[in-house]
């Protein structure tokens, strides 16, 4: 589009975009605002963003102590880190084989990857639940992790990027005496770093935010990742203690929002590339 706008048009552009952005931000603002207020002000019938009496310390400390919120956050970090590590460890060698080696069944395997891409994970939840039951790992960290250790999208993305790396690089690495696994970790992955980062963001955001599978896989509060934990917290509060609840919601949302604002470009790339598949 053109970038030569008349002054009036430019003002209109900012006017409309500021309004839509403000509307989009309302739930965030309301959440933070309530998390700063004492109960008396929350249940008052008129609105002000800032509290008359600051109650942030009480709300946030209650959120952090009355529910095992630090535990939920820790669980989220642990589960996301384990999933991402395993995904990269398992997907990158496979992607390398698909991109750079010739072997029988290669196209067949790639076909399987494409079919895997097509399957929405929720459809698989019932058999995976049965599998977890048979393995005796339901209601453990392993239950939260195992369905996601291989990512068809990861294999697909890495294969596409590895294919763009010239064969000469691979030959040179072989001449230097690198093993095939050495080529994967010392040559391919470093050269494909932007794709690896984009995939990492896609994976971490997806699993940090996931509610569906944790709801099925774990029952113990001590194992809950943040989205499940915050729901448990909301149910315990029975909806009358909004301050700490909003403080808890803010704490759950905060890490990704901060990371996003710090590395916007990477996030947009990772999230759209991933969600588009």
């Amino acid at each position: 589009m053109s970038v030569r706008l008349s002054p009036t048009a430019a003002i209109m552009r900012h006017g409309v975009l500021l309004i839509t952005a403000a509307v989009v931000l309302v739930p965030f603002v309301w959440m933070v605002s309530l998390s700063l207020k004492p109960p008396g002000e929350i249940f008052r019938q008129h609105f002000s963003f800032l509290p008359e009496q600051w109650y942030a310390v009480q709300n946030y400390s209650k959120a952090l102590t009355s529910a095992p919120l630090p535990r939920y956050m820790g669980n989220g970090v642990l589960v996301c880190a384990a999933i991402l590590t395993l995904q990269i460890l398992i997907c990158a060698p496979c992607a390398y084989a698909l991109a750079k080696l010739r072997f029988r069944g290669r196209d067949l395997i790639f076909g399987f990857v494409l079919i895997g891409l097509l399957l929405p994970h929720q459809v698989l939840s019932l058999p995976l639940f049965v599998l977890g039951y048979e393995l005796g790992i339901l209601n453990t960290y392993a239950a939260l992790i195992f369905p996601f250790v291989v990512s068809p999208f990861g294999i697909f993305l890495f294969r596409q990027v590895f294919k763009t790396i010239p064969d000469d690089v691979v030959h040179a690495a072989r001449l230097d005496g690198l093993s095939e696994l050495g080529i994967v970790w010392k040559v391919m992955v470093p050269m494909a770093l932007p794709a690896v980062i984009a995939f990492s963001i896609f994976s971490v955001v997806g699993h940090w935010n996931d509610l569906f599978w944790p709801l099925i896989a774990v029952r113990s509060e001590s194992l809950m990742p943040p989205p499940l934990g915050i729901i448990a917290f909301a149910n315990e509060q029975a909806g009358n203690d909004y301050g700490p609840l909003m403080a808890a919601a803010t704490i759950v949302v905060l890490p990704l929002v901060v990371a996003f604002l710090a590395a916007q470009k990477w996030f947009v790339e990772g999230m759209t590339g991933g969600a588009v598949k």
Binding site: W30, F103, F112, P120, V123, L126, P127, V130, Q264, T272
Partner: protein, 285 residues
């Protein structure tokens, strides 16, 4: 041999975590197996008959369609409008993009709790604002007329930033010289250029965005689980929530598997349409 060692673990896991489960879903949907039962018998399409005859399922399917029909146009039109506005000037592009994209990556389960507070019948900002403006208020999430549309509006709020960045990418790929050519041909006003160049050139991208957003809308679950649990009655029941409730709360295994198969059929159909749209886009350029 070498390739086997490299690809083996991934292939093995793809099989046990994707292919065996998806085949298992089909098989379970054709049996009377219940979770925990030692035996089962094939019952043909009895489960599907039961599902399709169930008023609750029909309500859920219809709700899902209504939800998608609200979310898709709302998200696509708003996402397109915001993308065009952002791209039409130079200043503050990154800021506007970031602000509109925020809901797409924020934890939706936590944001649903914020929405619940916004929509609270007495202390919620929505009702307070409506009251001040003399508009009718409601108990939005407990009213069977408003529950589903309100959830759909939250769906639009969540996804419009996603549609926006897809459109922004589409806008960037429009060749500059088309605008110059349009200008020579007399399309020198912003609106003219929008109608003669921008929108027609975005057509293939739009098709693609529609499908991707529709897929996301079909997979709506978190807000329903947190805010309404499908209620009141079946007023905001959607496919994925039905799938979850029947499979894991009521433990109706065969019923749940049948819903999963129906859900998969819809998603696969949409994805195949998307693949065709992508093909067209490639040919177009």
């Amino acid at each position: 041999m070498l390739a086997c060692a490299l690809a083996g673990p991934a292939v093995l896991l793809l099989f046990s975590l994707f292919f065996v489960p998806v085949i298992a879903v089909f098989v379970i949907s054709l049996t009377d197996w219940q979770f925990g039962a030692p035996t089962f018998a094939f019952v043909g399409i009895a489960n599907f008959r039961e599902v399709l005859a169930d008023e609750g399922f029909r309500a859920s399917l219809l709700n899902t369609i209504v939800y998608v029909l609200i979310v898709v146009p709302g998200t696509v039109i708003l996402g397109l409008a915001i993308a065009v506005l952002i791209e039409s000037g130079r200043s503050l592009r990154a800021l506007y993009r970031a602000l509109h994209f925020l809901p797409f990556m924020a934890t939706i389960a936590a944001m649903a709790i914020a929405w619940e507070a916004l929509l609270h019948p007495t202390i919620g900002l929505v009702n307070q604002t409506f009251l001040a403006m003399g508009l009718p208020t409601a108990n939005w999430l407990r009213d069977e007329v408003t529950a589903l549309p309100v959830l759909a509006i939250i769906g639009i709020w969540q996804n419009l930033g996603f549609a926006m960045v897809l459109f922004l990418a589409g806008l960037k790929s429009i060749p500059r010289d088309l605008y110059d050519a349009a200008e020579i041909d007399g399309a020198d006003r912003w609106l003219d250029r929008l109608c003669t160049v921008t929108l027609p050139m975005l057509n293939p991208v739009s098709m693609f965005v529609v499908i991707v957003v529709a897929l996301r809308a079909f997979e709506a679950f978190d807000t329903i689980k947190v805010l309404t649990q499908g209620g009141p009655g079946h007023a905001s029941d959607v496919l994925l929530y039905t799938l979850y409730r029947e499979s894991f709360e009521y433990l109706r295994t065969g019923y749940g598997a049948s819903v999963a198969v129906i859900f998969l059929a819809i998603v696969v159909a949409l994805t195949l349409i998307q693949a065709r749209a992508m093909d067209k886009r490639v040919h177009y350029q």
